[in-house]
Symmetry: none
Subunit: 75 residues, 5 copies
C-alpha cells in the first residue's frame, strides 16, 4: 500500500466500530428478549425466533463490514 498506511488505521478503527454496532444492537434485542421470556415463558419460542431473525440481519451487515476491514488490513 502506498501512502502513509492510512488504510491500516481505517481497518482497525472500522473493525472496532463494527463490533460496537453489532454488540449494542444484538445486546439490545436480546435484553428485551430475555425480559420477554421472563414475563411470558410460554412465548419463548416466538420471542427467540424474532430475536434470531433480527440478530442474523445485524450479524450480516457486521460481518460484511468486518470483511471490508480485512480487505484493508491485508492489502
Amino acid at each position: 500500500m502506498e501512502g502513509l498506511g492510512l488504510g491500516y488505521l481505517g481497518a482497525g478503527i472500522g473493525a472496532g466500530l463494527a463490533v460496537i454496532g453489532a454488540g449494542l444492537g444484538i445486546g439490545n434485542v436480546a435484553a428485551s428478549a430475555a425480559e420477554g421470556v421472563a414475563r411470558q415463558p410460554e412465548a419463548t419460542a416466538d420471542i427467540r425466533t424474532t430475536m434470531i431473525i433480527a440478530a442474523a440481519l445485524i450479524e450480516g451487515v457486521a460481518l460484511f463490514g468486518e470483511v471490508i476491514c480485512v480487505l484493508l488490513a491485508l492489502k
Copy 2:
C-alpha cells in the same frame, strides 16, 4: 489510488459507522418487537412482519453504504 490513501481510511471508518447505524436501528426495532411478542403472543405474525419490513429498509441503506466502502477499499 493517488494521494495519501485517505480513501482507505474512509472505507474502514465508513464501514464501521454503517454497522453502528444498522445495528442500533435493527436492534431498537427488534427489542420492541420482542417486548410486543411477550405482551401479545397472538399478534406475533403481525409484529414480526412489521419488524422485517423495517429491518429490510435499514438493511438496504446499510448494504448500499457498505458497497460504497468496498468500492473505496478495492480502488
Copy 3:
C-alpha cells in the same frame, strides 16, 4: 481526483453517517410501530402504513446521500 484524496475520505465517512441517521430513524419509528401493533393488533394495517410512509421518507434522503457518496467514490 486532484488534491490529497479528501473526497474519498468524505465518501466513506459520509456513507457511514448516512446509515447511522437512517438506521436510528427508521429503527425508532418501527420500534414504536411494533409496540403499537402489540397494544392494538386490530390497527395493524394503519400502523404499518404510517410506518412505511415515514420509513420511505427517511430512506429517500438516505439514498440521496449515499448517491452523493458514490459520486465522490467513483470520481
Copy 4:
C-alpha cells in the same frame, strides 16, 4: 510495515473499541437475563439459553474484529 505505523495505532484503538461493543452488548443482555431469572426463577433455562445464543453472536463478531487487529499488530 511502511509509513508511520498508523496500523499499530489502528490495532490498539480497534481492539479497545471492539471490547467496548462486546462488553456493553453482552453486559446489557446479561443484566436483563439476571433480572429475568430473579423475576421468574422457573424460566432460568429458557432465559439462559436466549442469553447464550445472543452472547455467542456478539462474541463471534468481536473475536473477528480482534483477529483483524491482531493481523494489523503483527504486520
Copy 5:
C-alpha cells in the same frame, strides 16, 4: 518499531478503552445480579451462574484485546 511510535499510543488508548468496555459491561451485569439476589434470595445460585457465564464471555474478549495491546507495547 520504525516510525513515530504510534503503536505505543495505540497500545495505551486501546488498553484503556478495553477496560471501559469490560468494566461497564461486567458492572452492568453484576448490578442487576445483585438486585436480583436481593429481590429473590432463593434464586441466588441461578442468578450467580448466569452472571458468571456472561462475565466470562466479556472477560474473554477483553483479555484478547489487552493481549493485542501488550503485543503493541512490547514491539
